[in-house]
């Protein structure tokens, strides 16, 4: 749609605008001598240069886009993580990724887990792990945020945390309502070209499933009741 718009509608609009403008300009000729126009254009260019200098000196953007080589590295790392996960090895979840911990209390030996979410909680990877040094009747839920890179931007901080709580002796995991994040990207290239080339080249956006991981640590005595089948065991 966008391409059609650009190719057909914009030219017409442009042509009309340019003609209108040129005819208007030729009538106002008395004020606008070539010298004055030249001064006008030069000052406009100087203005642009000033803007450029201002941006390059004073505007350190807080958000940095990752370079392709950095992305490659990250990708490798995430692939490894996937491997660990498949082998049910939790050792990849280091302190670096830890975002939040919930300590929850429950009664009895069973802990039903209910995941609420708009699309049945598929936002999260939920893993269960037995731990020896936990008192019975206590569960520790830890949220790990692995890197989320979209279009070279690390969005790990922007992903909303789930809501984890106990009610009626059941563990509820709820994802928060959808969150919208807007970014203005300054990209001094031609996006028509980039867009077309991206179709065949490897995707720039890294959409990786293993990024939001919830670990439920429970004592060995407890049985985790998972009626939705979303929770997997992990060492």
């Amino acid at each position: 749609m966008k391409a059609t718009f650009f190719l057909f509608f914009m030219p017409l609009l442009l042509v009309a605008a340019i003609f209108l403008l040129l005819s208007k300009l030729s009538k106002k000729i008395k004020i606008w001598t070539p010298e004055r126009i030249m001064i006008g254009i030069t000052s406009y260019l100087v203005l642009g240069l000033t803007a450029f200098l201002y941006i390059s000196f004073f505007a350190e953007s807080k958000i940095q886009a990752l370079s392709p080589s950095e992305m490659k590295q990250l990708e490798k790392k995430l692939e490894q993580i996937q491997k660990y996960d498949l082998e049910n090895d939790s050792s990849y979840l280091t302190e670096d990724y830890k975002k939040k911990t919930w300590a929850l209390k429950y009664e009895g030996d069973t802990l039903p887990v209910i995941v609420n979410g708009d699309d049945s909680g598929s936002n999260y990877i939920i893993r269960m792990r037995y731990k020896d040094n936990i008192d019975s009747g206590q569960a520790i839920v830890t949220y790990y945020q692995l890197p989320v890179i979209i279009d070279g931007i690390d969005l790990s901080d922007k992903i909303p945390l789930p809501n984890v709580y106990m009610e009626h002796n059941e563990l509820f995991i709820e994802s928060l309502s959808e969150q919208q994040v807007n970014y203005d990207r300054i990209k001094p290239t031609l996006s028509i070209l980039d867009f077309n080339r991206d179709v065949e080249q490897e995707p720039y956006a890294m959409d990786y499933p293993y990024s939001n991981v919830l670990i439920i640590d429970i004592p060995r005595s407890t049985v985790l009741e998972d009626s939705q089948g979303l929770v997997q065991y992990i060492r």
Binding site: A17, I18, L22, A59, I159, P160, Q180, Y183, P188
Partner: protein, 236 residues
């Protein structure tokens, strides 16, 4: 008998370029205004792309050079056609000139103006960036502040190409019918060929695209001179 003045084509073209570059300047001021209207005021962003990821939806507003280039290219096309219209052509007759010298001078002016148009384009781009920066302090990402030379060359060659097509079209309209028809057909074939192969064209590296554009521009320029050489003056 007094001796006749001997003036080379080169001298005349130089003088014509000098005066035309100055006298056609309103074309450039129109570009500035167009860039401000279309680039800064009208467009919120060049393009947007959205990603949904679970309960996070990300919207990227991408500010690229596209809009600025499209405006410049169309501007070049129309300005080039205007250069070949009656008002400008008749002005040429008031001084030493031939249609050939006028056509060559127009081509040079078009090339100079294309170059300035690129600078105006960049200038507008940075002004736009500044505007975003002042408006949205938090959420903007500068991927790269410097425009790569290959992109600059591509912009220049695109503007040049549109200008060249405009000049060729405008000149062939005034040329002999015998030439007019095939040239317009040729242009149509060229445009349709390009639009069919647009995708594969865009896959080429910037530099190659630029070279192709410049090559076609030069071809158009040569045809323009050739037609101008054969054209009569029509003052109707």
């Amino acid at each position: 008998m007094q001796s006749l003045t001997n003036i080379s084509l080169k001298t005349i073209v130089k003088k014509q370029v000098k005066w035309k570059a100055k006298l056609y300047i309103s074309a450039l001021s129109s570009l500035v205004i167009l860039q401000i209207i279309f680039g800064i005021l009208l467009s919120s962003s060049g393009s947007t792309s959205g990603y949904g990821r679970g309960n996070l939806s990300v919207k990227f507003s991408i500010y690229s050079l596209d809009m600025f280039l499209i405006v410049s290219a169309f501007w070049a096309f129309i300005v080039a056609i205007l250069f070949t219209t009656k008002a400008y052509r008749i002005d040429d007759l008031s001084v030493i000139s031939s249609r050939t010298s006028s056509a060559i001078a127009n081509i040079f002016v078009m090339i100079i103006y294309s170059f300035i148009a690129v600078i105006i384009m960049i200038s507008t781009f940075y002004l736009k960036v500044l505007e975003i920066l002042l408006a949205e302090k938090q959420s903007f990402i500068i991927e790269n502040l410097f425009i790569s030379p290959s992109i600059l060359l591509l912009c220049f060659s695109s503007i040049c190409l549109f200008g060249a097509i405009g000049l060729l079209l405008g000149t062939s309209f005034k040329g002999p019918t015998l030439i007019k028809v095939p040239i317009i057909l040729l242009l149509l074939i060229f445009i349709s060929l390009v639009s069919i192969n647009l995708n594969s064209l865009m896959m080429l590296p910037n530099l190659i695209i630029s070279v192709i554009y410049l090559f076609v521009s030069v071809l158009c320029f040569c045809l323009t001179i050739w037609i101008a050489d054969k054209s009569e003056v029509s003052r109707k």
